[in-house]
Amino acid sequence: MKRAALSALLVPVLLSGCYRVEKPAATSGPVTAPITRGDGRTLRVFIWSEYIDPDLVTAFEKENGVRVVLDTFESNEAMLAKLQGGGAQYDIAVPSNYVVQTMVRAGLLQPLEKSRLPNLKNIAPGFLNAPYDPGNRYSVPYQYAATGLAYNRERYVPQDTWAEIFGPDDTRTFVLLDDPREVIGAALKYLGFSANTTDVAQLRQARDLLRGVVAKKGFQGFDGGPGTRNKLLARQIDLGQIYVGDLLIATEEDENVQVLLPRQGTTISMDTLVVLRRSPNPDLAHRFIDYLLDADNGAQLSNYTYYATPNAAAQPLLDDFLKDIPALNPPAAWLTDGRLDFIGELPTGRPQRLYDRIWTELKSR
């Protein structure tokens, strides 16, 4: 009796979160969304924190009479886990380039309809058709970060070479990024190899080099962007490996902190815009992406985040301050002469295990 009363009480409570599925309106495109509840009025975007100018979002909301919900994630892995669980219905996500293929294979993305993205023409050709997504079937470039060498010029001005860290000199204090692909990648670039190499002999060379580097007196450990930035502001270290954008934001507080790109070349990681397969509002998602690809808006994004824009049309519209920073705008030739490597996905198997082993060894010291 009582039990029945209790369940009678609980059931409506639990069901009040449910709703009836409306049959999807016939959507164009090769993928029919399995679930559609899009009323075309709310766009849900899954993005890194502080990675979009809120004013741009507000303007889009006003222009289209819609609401944009921004949810943030803190790592590509956490984002993937949540999307694969299928719990959250987002329209757009902002994965880094090396996660795009993983998401495609997991069936999380829907192909883009290029006809709805006329502003795609604004993107510099060097950033289109990249190895992580040939033909840009699923992703368009959003903003990117090269990895550079940061310093505080009141304390020490380095040469534009990785030798500052990887060379024999043992008098400088420095930190490395807390990221296996960035650290091993930088060592590989210093040695003149690709940051995505699967050549075991090259990887062994990088390993031997890095063993010596972390044994240096000046090695102050591995750190993320914010930590390195704070140490440079406090003049605690001479050099730090850092994403250019993470450092540039600190110039607001102290213009003596600077960043450069080593002449051997470096790694870049591109964050991309993708439309999720389960997106309730694919139309609106395309409209928002095209809006972000606009020249003015692209410039406004970078002026806000201090990350580099792949948007060629936006380049001249950047704030003067940003235009003058070479590390933010690597020479166009670098894109084609192999000096800038997108951090790529590694094939599973021996090379990947070797990357893992090198990293474990370095971290356990």
Binding site: L14, S75, G87, A88
Partner: protein, 269 residues
Amino acid sequence: MIRRTHPALSVWAWLVYAFLYLPIIVLVVFSFNDSRFGATWAGFTTKWYGVLFARTDVREALTNTLTVAVVSTLISTVLGTLVGLGLWRYTLRFRTALTGLLVLPIVIPDVVMGVSLLMFYAFVRSGLERLGWTFDNGFWTVLLAHVTFQISYVALTVRSRLAGYGPELEEAARDLGATGLRSFTHVVLPLALPGVLAGALLAFTLSLDDFVVTYFTSGSGFNTLPVLIYTNVKRGVTPDINALSALLVLVTVVAIVAANALLRPRRQP
């Protein structure tokens, strides 16, 4: 004779406390720092608290956090108290196994719990979809997830509160003519109440602080404060997040102190 603690031991104790609490104190102090990056001290300011309260996402997350915490605490306190009383009062056949099941949500890593709930919801959703119904993860899924781990804490505090008493108290009440309900409300419940309240406060604090389980079970557009803080920290802590963390620490400390006060055994006259 009990000897006084050796002075070296109390020095050691203070060092341990300093080690535990200095980072939190630094965090609180730096929430008043007039520098965006917090690396160096740039003067005292309370502006970050102003910035904080001007943020709509923070206000929204605060509302969500408190709503989930209050409602889930209410549900789990009722259910957990019933479980605790049941374990105390009845000799059950699988008592050890049941107690073990109760401890499980406490010892299981959060991430396992979060992911398994995420998958469970996906499973339920796919079943419902076949019937033409669906739901989004959000308030309800987070609420249920919180209740699942809170019940254990409430049940165990209630049970340990009653552990010293035998069933004879209730029997005596019945002998004196009390009905079942009356002996429950006048004898058992008052005895259990400190445990119930302490369990409720513990549950409330846990709900307030939980990140991992909430992250995995919440859907789009539904954030709680811990989720908001954690996802903001990756790109560098902005001082308004320091201020927010300081406030969260404050609320947690108050709740814990209150729980301790309630748990302290009261001497019966």
